[in-house]
Amino acid sequence: MDYSEKVMDHFENPRNQGILENPDGIGVEGNPQCGDIMKIYIKVADNRIADVKFQTFGCGAAIASSSMATEMIMGKTLEEAWDLSNKAVAQALDGLPPQKVHCSVLAEDAIHRAINDYRVKQGLEPWEEKPGHKKHCHESQ
C-alpha cells in the first residue's frame, strides 16, 4: 500500500480518537463484513462542532480518514461540516490509493449521519444525504 506520509501520520497518531460521553449526535457508517466501520461522536454548541471523536475498525486509510475528517470539522458550523466532501478529506491526506477512496466516503457519510442524528434529536428535519453513497463494500473501485 503506497500511503502518503500524511496518511501514515494520521494513522499512527490519530487525532480525536476515542468516545465522547453524552454526545449530541452519533453517526455510524460502514459494516464489519466490508472490513471498515466508523463511528463519529459530536458535541454541538452555537450551531458549531464543539467537540468530535471517532472510533474506527478498518484499514490504515479508514483510520486516517476518520482522524483527518474530525480534525477538519472541529469548530466548524454544522453547514460547513456537512459540506465537507470525501474529496476534501482525501486531498488533505495528500491523496489516497484508488481502491481506498471509499474510506474517505465513509468519513463523509459518518459525519452526515452524526449531524442528522443531532438534528433529529433536536426535532429538526434531517438534511438530505447524497444519493449513491452508503454502499462502500466491494463496490467503490
Binding site: 500500500m1 501514515m8 474506527t56 479508514a62
Partner: protein
C-alpha cells in the same frame, strides 16, 4: 532501511535468493550466455547446466529428468497444467474438479475455462481447510478429465491428503495435478508414491529466483502447450531457456530438500513458540490445521480489528507480515480461503499471517509476539466493535 533492522516473516510471499544460488547463477548471465539450442561449444555449457538443474529437480521429486519442464513461475505451471489438460482432452470430457481454497492461479484459470465451455466442481473444505478425499471421489464423473488440488495452502498452511487423492485419481483413471508451490522444498514430495501426474513449483518460494518455475509432467500425461513456438523443453514449452534462472531453481530446490529435516525441526519449534505467544491474546484463534500444516506457517485471527492496520503498525516496527483482509487486496475481497473455512467475513478481516524462514530467530519470535500484543490492544482501543472488557488504556 537496512535488512538488519527488519524481521521478515512473510516467507510464503517470497524469499531472498540464497547466496550460493546467486553465485551459481551469475556466470550464466554474461560469461556463459549462449543459447542452449545452439550447436557451438559455448552453448554446450548452458545445455549441460540446464540438464544438471533438471536432474536436481527430478531427484527432489522422485521424478525422471524428462518429466521436468522449466517454466517462468508457479502461475505459469498451474495455467499450463490445467488449460493444457483441458484442451488436450476435450474429446474425453470437459469436467474439472478442484477445491474452494486453491490459489487464484488455479481458481481463475478454472473460471476462464468455464467461459470456454468447461465445467468445474469447487469442493468445499472443513474448518481446518482440509479437502475430504471422499468428496473428491464423489465428484468424479465419466467426463472428468482433471483433478487439481493444492499440496499445501499458501494462507493457512494446511497440507492436503495428496497421496489419498492421488490414489483415487489413479483408480478412476483421471489425471491429477497438484499446486505444490508452497510445499516444494518445505515438505517431502514423491510424485510416484503419491500418484501425482502433474505438479507445479515456483522457485522464489524456497530461496530460489523469482521468475522461475517447474511443471512436473508424468509420462502418461497428454497436454497441449501453453507456450507455442520453438523446440525448447522437448517441444512442450517454447521460449529461449532462462539458463541462469533454471540453474538457480535447480540448486535452490536441491539445497532445500537436503536441509529439509533440519529446517523443519528448527521452524517447528519457532512456530510453536510464536503460536503459543499469540494465542495468549484474548479473542484470538489459529487458522488452518493444528498439526497437518507447513512447518513455517502461522495464521491467527484477532477479533474486532482489521488486518491491514496490523500490518502497517508491524511495518513501522520493521516486521513484515501478511493478512487475508480484503482491505489489503486489490480486489477488495476478503480471503476466499478463510471464508471457505467457515470464518465470518468480519472476523476474516482480523487475520494475520506470519511465515517463518531462514533468517528468523527465537529472538525475532519474541519481538513479534510483543509487538502484535501491543498493536492488537492499540487497534482494539480504537475500534467501535471492541467489547468494553477488552479495552485497556
Amino acid at each position: 532501511m537496512t535488512e538488519s533492522h527488519i524481521i521478515y516473516m512473510d516467507n510464503a510471499a517470497t524469499t531472498p535468493v540464497r547466496q550460493e544460488v546467486v553465485d551459481a547463477m551469475i556466470p550464466y548471465m554474461r560469461e556463459n550466455f549462449g543459447n542452449p539450442s545452439s550447436l557451438y561449444d559455448i552453448a554446450k555449457i548452458n545445455r549441460e547446466a540446464v540438464a544438471l538443474a533438471r536432474s536436481r529437480v527430478a531427484r527432489a521429486l522422485n521424478a525422471e529428468d524428462k518429466e521436468i519442464y522449466f517454466t517462468s513461475c508457479g502461475t505459469e505451471s498451474d495455467n499450463w497444467a490445467i488449460k493444457g489438460t483441458a484442451f488436450a482432452n476435450r474429446d474425453k470430457g470437459k469436467h474439472i474438479i478442484t477445491s474452494a481454497i486453491e490459489h487464484h492461479a488455479v481458481l481463475y484459470t478454472c473460471q476462464w475455462l468455464e467461459k470456454q465451455g468447461f465445467e468445474v466442481t469447487y469442493l468445499p473444505v472443513d474448518e481446518f481447510g482440509m479437502v475430504n478425499p471422499k468428496d473428491v471421489e464423489a465428484a468424479i464423473r465419466p467426463d472428468t478429465v482433471l483433478i487439481t488440488i493444492m499440496f499445501a495452502n499458501n494462507e493457512i498452511g494446511t497440507i492436503q491428503p495428496i497421496a489419498e487423492i492421488g490414489k483415487i485419481a489413479r483408480e478412476h483413471n483421471v489425471l491429477f495435478h497438484t499446486d505444490a508451490v508452497q510445499a516444494a522444498g518445505h515438505v517431502p514430495i514423491d510424485v510416484k508414491a503419491m500418484n501425482i501426474d502433474m505438479l507445479s513449483i515456483s522457485g522464489h518460494k524456497f530461496n530460489g529466483p523469482k521468475g522461475t518455475g517447474v511443471l512436473y509432467i508424468g509420462k502418461r500425461v497428454k497436454l497441449d502447450s501453453l507456450m507455442h513456438g520453438g523446440d525448447q523443453e522437448r517441444k512442450r514449452r517454447a521460449g529461449t531457456e532462462n539458463v541462469a534462472g533454471i540453474v538457480g531453481i535447480g540448486l535452490a530446490l536441491e539445497l532445500s530438500v537436503k536441509e529439509m529435516d533440519a529446517t523443519t525441526k528448527r521452524l517447528d519449534a519457532l512456530r510453536k513458540r510464536l503460536v503459543d505467544g499469540l494465542l495468549t491474546i484474548p479473542k484470538s484463534r489459529l487458522n488452518g490445521h493444528p498439526t497437518k500444516r507447513l512447518p513455517n506457517n502461522v495464521n491467527v485471527i484477532f477479533e474486532y480489528i482489521e488486518g491491514e492496520s496490523i500490518l502497517l503498525m508491524l511495518n513501522r516496527r520493521g516486521i513484515c507480515a501478511s493478512t487475508g483482509s480484503a482491505c489489503n487486496s486489490a480486489s477488495l475481497e476478503p480471503s476466499h480461503v478463510l471464508t471457505a473455512c467457515g470464518i465470518p467475513h468480519e472476523v476474516v478481516h482480523g487475520s494475520l499471517r506470519l511465515t517463518l524462514g531462514e533468517m528468523n530467530t527465537q529472538e525475532d519470535v519474541d519481538i513479534v509476539i510483543d509487538a502484535v500484543k501491543d498493536i492488537v490492544q492499540k487497534l482494539r482501543n480504537m475500534s467501535p466493535l471492541t467489547p468494553d472488557e477488552l479495552r485497556k488504556y
